[in-house]
């Protein structure tokens, strides 16, 4: 292979493929031999180490509306070129294009077993959807960063195909995939933690070994105008369930969220209810589950007319080490059902 150039196939959308804009976004994938559009810059970045043997072009709408089918069609076309490497994009901030690049890259990696790299803006939905499985390089939001993106993609593609080990995202410049890697360190965790804390206290830079996940925000819902007529629902991640845990909610990383009828319950007693939450001492909650989900005092407020009505069901899951994605799913389900049931507000307790 010493004198032979690596064979590269480049995936781009209809716009960069010089077919047209939105009007042409429904075209099915097809190919051109050699580089097209941004492929010319990519070709220059590869210098004499690789050559772009073909370009696959597909309309963004066609791809986004038929992801499975479009992916298959692209794989067939890419396979015909017998490439050594595949490069997709850069897609910048374009959501559909980013999803397409991600899907193509995933297909190339999993189905063709070839090295592949793509690039897009870090908030492109393609990042969330595909980052775990493929290498995505960050780009600017608009095509203004084309030159730089193409240079980095070419360098990364060459490294991938060289078989050299790909290091951490910070060193190699790809977007974090969310994996933890074990490495051997000279210092114990305790020592590293104290050093980090000292650095933090003295205002010096330090790098965490466990970055916290970033959460998006939701705008506050408007206030309830009249408490006296509202329907209020109780929700808890504290694991309060009818005794015996009829639906077998797990004590950690719960796989479900359940609801139970409390229309005839005025007080959660330790005889009829219990906590199945792992990770905190449930003795107190088992003595009196109102300590986690305050039904008794809320019934009083209902009887006194301070609030209109307590919703007939309460919702429960266990928050202990439950994945954020699960919690979002449960919250979404609860919100939808409560909305449909005409509930005006929610009190959610967490342990």
């Amino acid at each position: 292979m010493a004198d032979q150039k690596l064979r590269v196939v480049h995936y781009i959308n209809q716009f960069f493929g010089q077919v047209g804009g939105e009007a042409e976004a429904d075209i099915k994938p097809f190919s051109r031999s050699g580089p097209v559009g941004p492929g010319l810059a990519l070709k220059a970045a590869f210098k004499d180490q690789a050559e772009i043997v073909g370009t696959v072009i597909c309309g963004d709408n066609y791809f986004a509306a038929n992801i499975k089918q479009a992916k298959l069609e692209c794989m067939d076309i890419i396979r015909e070129f017998a490439p050594d490497i595949v490069v997709a994009g850069p897609a910048f901030g374009s959501g559909r294009y980013g999803m397409a690049c991600g899907a193509v890259a995933e297909g190339v990696k999993d189905e063709l077993g070839l090295p592949v790299v793509t690039a897009m803006f870090n908030e492109n939905p393609g990042v969330e959807a595909y980052r775990k499985n493929i290498y995505i390089l960050p780009t600017t939001e608009s095509a203004i960063g084309m030159k730089d993106a193409v240079l980095r993609m070419a360098a990364f593609a060459l490294k991938l195909s060289s078989g050299l080990e790909i290091g951490f995202p910070e060193e190699e410049g790809y977007l974090v995939q969310g994996y933890r890697a074990s490495i051997v360190s000279e210092k114990t965790g305790a020592l590293r933690a104290v050093e980090m804390m000292l650095a933090k206290l003295s205002g010096k830079p330090f790098t965490t070994e466990l970055p916290l996940p970033v959460f998006d925000r939701v705008s506050p819902a408007p206030a309830v105008k009249d408490l006296k007529t509202m329907v209020l629902a109780l929700v808890t991640s504290g694991g309060i369930v009818p005794k015996g845990n009829p639906d077998h909610i797990e004590s950690h990383n719960a796989s479900k969220c359940c609801r139970y009828d409390i229309s005839h319950v005025n007080d959660f007693t330790g005889e009829d209810y219990e906590s199945v939450h792992g990770g905190y001492d449930i003795v107190y909650a088992n003595q009196d589950p109102d300590r986690v989900l305050p039904l008794d005092a809320l019934r009083e407020l209902e009887e006194e007319g301070v609030i209109g009505k307590i919703y007939n069901y309460y919702y429960v899951t266990v928050g202990n080490t439950t994945a954020v994605s699960s919690a979002v799913r449960y919250g979404d389900k609860i919100g939808k059902e409560l909305r449909e049931a005409g509930v005006d507000a929610v009190i959610l307790t967490s342990t």
Binding site: G335, A345, V346
Partner: protein, 75 residues
């Protein structure tokens, strides 16, 4: 979970003991509670007094529900 519920337009007040987690997760109305194993109780008190604590927390939660907020607010 709080945030996902609120996405449906229902104000969801979060009663919890670890405020920074609630803030990181993105709850908009937060009421600090007693302790992790008993957010709305206190086994050191007698039952009547404990219920009173619970009631006070609920009244605070109701206040949070009845007030418009524009950013994360701890009540």
């Amino acid at each position: 979970m709080v945030k996902a519920i609120e996405k449906h337009g229902i104000p969801a007040v979060h009663l919890c003991s670890i405020i920074p987690i609630s803030q990181t997760v993105g709850a908009n109305r937060i009421v600090p509670c007693v302790a992790i194993p008993y957010p709305t109780g206190d086994p050191k008190q007698d039952l009547a007094h404990e219920k009173e604590i619970r009631r006070r927390l609920l009244v605070r939660a109701l206040k949070a529900i009845s007030m418009d907020v524009t950013e994360q607010t701890v009540f």
